[in-house]
Symmetry: C2
Subunit: 252 residues, 2 copies
């Protein structure tokens, strides 16, 4: 029946949405694996059995949270921040970087989906397929389109793919490895305060690289700096300690 009125006495629909909300927060903070159904229900003020009544089991609850957040995010702010393909490539690049960083670092519910996506990248859940299809693929397409705007449409797929990884990786690394980064580089701005300076840096860094790659097609890069004694490329120097050699006192 699902009465649509927000009545003072919580009805069925309220319990469901309360669970969705609580689950989104808990999954975003703790990750799929570490988020427990009991913690979610405590936050939602319901019984643990409510999850299985409304959603079936934990994976289905997670899937429902994902669909909910993806729909809401796409309705609100797309990755191109409203810029079409006709905008200047540099502007589109900056908007993309700013959008991804905001979705990861800004406080509150706005960043729930971004953090879920970030976790899905490094520790996939059973819902990875859905996540890729409905959210990550559009993101990848957007990056590709921006890079094509810089390098032209005739570049090989490998170059386009690698350049996309280079840009996206810079955006995600600061969030993925925040625990170590904050220890190693404590003077850098932390959390939401990092969004603007990081946007600036990643844009400049990637811009310079893309312009250079656009100037020189693959294969015509500046000749490599002379390497002393043929190091670095075929990096085998002198006698290797052994051949396979795990170097554990070998058993078996």
């Amino acid at each position: 029946m699902r009465s649509t009125s927000a009545s003072p006495a919580p009805d069925a629909a309220d319990t469901r949405t309360a669970l969705l909300q609580a689950a989104a927060a808990e999954f975003a903070e703790a990750g799929y694996h570490d988020a427990t159904i009991r913690a979610i229900c405590r936050r939602a003020g319901t019984n643990v059995a409510a999850v299985h009544y409304h959603f079936g089991d934990k994976p289905q609850l997670y899937l429902e949270v994902l669909r909910h957040l993806v729909a809401e995010a796409n309705r609100r702010l797309p990755f191109d921040m409203g810029l079409g393909p006709e905008a200047a490539p540099e502007t589109r690049l900056r908007a993309f970087v700013r959008s991804v960083l905001g979705r990861l670092l800004e406080p509150g519910p706005h960043a729930w989906l971004g953090r879920l996506v970030a976790r899905e990248l490094t520790e996939p859940t059973p819902c990875l397929e859905v996540m890729v299809r409905e959210h990550i693929q559009p993101l990848a397409d957007q990056v590709r389109s921006i890079i094509v705007a810089f390098l032209g449409p005739d570049r090989d797929e490998q170059t386009l793919g690698f350049c996309g990884l280079s840009i996206v990786s810079q955006c995600f690394f600061y969030f993925h490895c925040r625990a170590v980064v904050s220890r190693l580089l404590p003077h850098l701005p932390q959390g939401p305060a990092a969004v603007e300076p990081l946007t600036e840096h990643i844009t400049r860094f990637s811009l310079a690289a893309l312009k250079e790659l656009a100037r020189r097609p693959v294969g015509t890069a500046a000749r490599r700096a002379p390497v002393p004694a043929g190091r670095t490329r075929s990096r085998r120097r002198g006698p290797r300690p052994a051949v396979a050699a795990p170097d554990f006192p070998h058993r078996s």
Copy 2:
């Protein structure tokens, strides 16, 4: 006594090293959290109680594995691949990238430590402090030294830090997000086959960026492309939720 022969009758030292070996493999494959003591002992051919007899508990076993692998790795191949600070910056950069990628993507026990470090970056364990102090800090110093070689010693710490993140992030992203990358960009080389082309790309990409940043000091970058309707830069619309609000949960 410590008989060095792989004797048919395993003695005490053999059990200990067997556990270390099995634990290293298991931790590298499954991660600290998902690796179970039972699986480690099954692989080592011992009883579950052996872990607590020889190492105390699971964190101490993990710590012992880390120390062992770090010592072995530092003995074998340092991050600078034998290149000193006098080598050409471009050569040092390529050697560093190649070294990190090799430690992540190459098959077999050689990559055990690299994968443990990579996991520690995204999902820290109780041993994070030790890991940072004994292994990650030297890595960061090496990156910083290379960047200083490009940008000069007078750059601000923020620029040096950001540039280091940009380079390291590109190296780790391909491994951290391999599940998604292989789905999204199936035409890219996978696993060990990616080491050489990725080294080439990341080096070129970062090289171009560093040279550009060396050419133009901070603040004198090419003026920004005009942004339509003032989006992207100050996209704050309506009231901010709050001011202080870090809400950047690290969680244990």
